[in-house]
Subunit: 236 residues, 4 copies
DNA sequence: CATGAATGAGCTTTCATTCAT
DNA sequence: CATGAATGAAAGCTCATTCAT
C-alpha cells in the first residue's frame, strides 16, 4: 500500500474534482455515470476485499472503466475510499430518515426501529464490512472526511424520543439512556451479521436462513424491551 | 489481495514442520523460538493490518527473522494465517477453561462470565480484528483448519449450566436459550471494542476510558439479567 | 519451474492488448515498437536459456523496457512465450510460402525443398531451441494458442505435389508418403543442428563449418532421392 | 541460477565425494542407496523439467531424501547434473555393447541396429530430453566431465563393421560413411520421439501409438537400406 | 554419517500512480 | 474529456546453497 504518497497528492487533485456542482449536458451526464459506476463498484469491491485487498484494477474493472478514471475523479485510492464511506453513511442516514413512527406507541416504535436496523444490516452487509475495514484502519479515513461529520445519525434521537414518550406514558423506566439502547440494538444486529461466517463454523448452524434471522430478531426485541420497560410482562 | 495465489493444500515442507514432536536440544529450542517469534509477530501484524495489509516482510521483520523462514515453517502466508487463527482460538479456549464458577450462585456466575468476556475482548483487541479479518474472507481460512474444529468453546456450555442452575432455583426463566445469551454477551462486548473507532467519531466521546468501559459492562450485565431473570428486581 | 503459477487463461488486460487493431499515431507507433522489442527479445532469450532459464528480467532488459510492460502487453510470462511460439511458427510459415518451385522438375524441386529446410534450420537455430523447449513442456503452451492451429505448414502439401508430379513422370515410386518424406527431411536437418554441441563432443569434429554443413546436406539429398526415386542412379 | 558460485565450490567437495571406492558395511550400503536414489530421481526430474526447471528440492523430494544430501554427495546441482549425463551415456553405451550381430548378415544386422536405436529412444525418452537440455546449454556440462570422454559410443564402430562386411559381400555401396549412416539412424529415431508433442499437434495424429512407431521404424529401415545398398530391390 | 535450520538473492507478478497526449 | 502507455516499488514465493551441530 502506498497510502503515504497518496496523502501528499490527495488534497490538490481530489479537491479539484470532487462533487461536480451541476450536470446538465450529455457529456456531463456521461461523466456523472462513469463517476457513479466507479463509486458503486468501489463500494462492492472494498466491502468484499477490504481496503488493501480492493485494488484499483479490481474496481476499474468492475466499473467497466479504467484505472486512470479513478484518479481523474477521486484523486487517489484513498480519496475514493473516503467517498465510499461518506456515501455509505449518507445512505444509512437517508434510510433512517424515512422511518415514520407513531410517538404515541413507544413499544411498537421501538420494535420497528429494531426491525429496521436488523433488516438494514442483513440487507446491506457491505455496510458492515466497510465499517469493519475502517475500524481496522482505526478510523483514519473517515477522520479526513469533512462531510462525514454532517451525518449525525438520527437513530439516537429517534430512540430518545421513543424512550421519553415511553417514560411519559409510565411504560419505560427512566434510567436507561438512548445511547445505550442504540448501542444494544446496533451491537446485536451488527455482530450477528458481521461474524456470521466464523459463528456459523463455531455454532455448527447456518445463521443466514430467514428463520434464524427472525428468531434472532425476536430475541433482540424481547431483550431490548425487558431492558427498557418497567414491567415487561405487560407487553409480549 | 493475493488469496488466489495461495495454495489450497499446505506444501510438503510446512506439513513436515508443523508442531514438531520433540524439542530437546539447544538447536531445536532455538528453532522453536524462531517459529514462536514468527507466530507471535504474525498475530500482531495481521491483527493490526489485516490479511492483505499484513505483508510477509512486515511479519518477518517484526519477528527479527527472514521471509524465507515463514515459508520454511508455515509453507505460505495463508498457512501462517491459519495457524494464527488456530492459536487465537486456542488461547481463548484456554482462558475460558480457567473460569471457576460457583454453580450455587447463578446470578454471580453469569455476571462473572460477562466480566470475563468484556475484559478478554478489551484486553485482547487483536482477537477481534483477527476475527473481523477472517469474516471479511468469509471464513475461508478457518475452514481449512482441522485443528480449529477441536476447539468447541466451553462458553456456551458454561452458560447453559448457569441457566439450568438458575431455572432450578426459580430465579431464571426457562425459555431463554444458552446460545442466545452467549450471543448477546458476545455481541455487546465485541461490538463495543470492534467499532470503537467509528463509534467514537460518531458519538463524539471516547469509548476506551476505563469509566466508559465499566459503564458499558454494567449495562450489559443489567440487560442480560433482565433478559434471563424471572424477577430482575430481586438482584440489583 | 513456475509454470504452476501461470494462469490457464490470459488475463483481461493481455487479451485487450493483443494485436491492436490500428497503429497510426506517434504514440501508438511507439507502443507497437515497445511490444515488438519485447517479443523479439523474448524470442532470443527463450531460445537461448529455455522457458525456465529465460527470466522476465532478462527479457525486459534485452528489450530495453521494464518487467511491468511484459505483463501490460502479454499478461504473463507464459502468455509472452505463447506469442513467441506463434510468431516463430508464423515466420516459418511465411518463409515456406515464398518457395517457388517448378512442378515440371520434381527432382530439382525436392532438392530445393531440402536446401531450404537445412538452410532455414541452420540460419534460425532459435527455431530449434524454442521447439525443444516447448517439447520439454510437452506442448502445453502451444496447445493454449488458438492462432497456432491456423498455421498448417504448407511444407507437407508442397512435398505432396512434388511427389505426385514425380510419380506422374515415372520418376518416383508411388508408395512413399509425403508425411514420411517431410519427417525424413525435417529429422535429418533438425537433428544435425539441434544436437550439434553434444555431437561435436561425441564425434570429435566441428559440425558447424560450412563444409560440414554442405556435406551433410548432400547426404540428405542423396538419401531422400534414393528413398523416393524409382531409379536413383538416373539423377546424381 | 547460481551456477557461477557452484563452479567455485564444485571441484573441492565434489572431488572428495564422487564415486566412493568400495562399499562393504551396512552404513556404506545405505549411503550408496541414498546416492543412487538421488541419481535416479535427478535423472527423472532433469529429464522432465530441464536443468533450470529441475530444482534441488524437486529432486531431493523425489529421492525421498534431503536437499543437503545432494550437496553431500554431488557437491552442487551442476555436479549432480554432470553425473546424470555421465550415467546416461554409460547406460546407452552398455546397451549398445550388448548388441550381438552376425557379421555374415549385414542387412539383418543393420536392421537390428535400427530396431535397437528406435526402441532405445522410445523406451528411454529421458535420454532425449536430457540431451536436448544439455544442447540448450551448449554442451557446457558434459565438457566438464572427464569420464564422458571415455564413452566413445561403439555404435559407429558397429555400423562401420556392418558396412565393411556389406561392401565385401557386394551388397553395399562403398561410398557411404559409417558416420553418416549413424547420424541418419540417430536423427530419424531421435527427432520422432523428441518432437512428438509439437509434431502431434502439427500433424494432427498421435505419433506414440505402437502402430505409428512401427510404421516409422519400417520407413527408417527402408530409407537406410536404400541409402546403403547397391541394389535395394534385392532385400525387402 | 547425516540433517534440520538458516540464508539472501532471485523469481514472477501486482501494486498504486503518473506521463503524455 | 478521456485514456493508452509507462513506471518503479513492493508483493508473495522459490532458488541453490551454507551453517552448525
Amino acid at each position: 500500500m502506498t497510502v503515504k504518497t497518496a496523502k501528499a497528492t490527495l488534497p490538490r487533485s481530489a479537491a479539484l474534482r470532487r462533487t461536480p456542482a451541476k450536470r446538465s449536458g450529455v457529456r456531463e451526464q456521461a461523466a456523472q455515470t462513469t463517476r457513479d459506476n466507479i463509486l458503486r463498484a468501489a463500494t462492492k469491491v472494498f466491502a468484499r476485499y477490504g481496503y488493501d485487498g480492493g485494488s484499483v484494477e479490481k474496481i476499474s474493472h468492475a466499473a467497466k472503466s479504467f484505472d486512470r478514471m479513478i484518479y481523474y475523479y477521486f484523486g487517489s485510492k484513498e480519496g475514493l475510499f473516503i467517498e465510499v464511506l461518506e456515501d455509505m453513511y449518507r445512505r444509512m442516514n437517508d434510510a433512517e430518515l424515512k422511518l415514520t413512527l407513531d410517538s404515541e406507541q413507544p413499544v411498537a416504535s421501538l420494535t420497528e426501529v429494531i426491525n429496521f436496523v436488523v433488516s438494514y444490516y442483513s440487507r446491506n452487509p457491505e455496510f458492515i464490512t466497510l465499517l469493519n475495514t475502517e475500524n481496522l484502519h482505526r478510523g483514519k479515513h473517515i477522520a479526513k472526511s469533512e462531510r462525514a461529520r454532517e451525518y449525525s445519525s438520527p437513530a439516537i434521537d429517534i430512540i430518545r424520543q421513543i424512550l421519553e414518550s415511553g417514560v411519559a406514558k409510565g411504560l419505560f423506566r427512566a434510567d436507561v439512556s438512548a445511547r445505550n439502547v442504540y448501542l444494544l440494538i446496533a451491537a446485536t444486529g451488527y455482530f450477528y451479521i458481521s461474524n456470521r461466517h466464523t459463528l456459523s463454523a463455531f455454532l455448527g448452524e447456518d445463521l443466514q436462513t430467514p428463520e434464524a434471522l427472525l428468531e434472532w430478531r425476536g430475541f433482540i426485541i424481547s431483550t431490548v424491551l425487558r431492558t427498557v420497560m418497567l414491567d415487561p410482562l405487560m407487553k409480549p
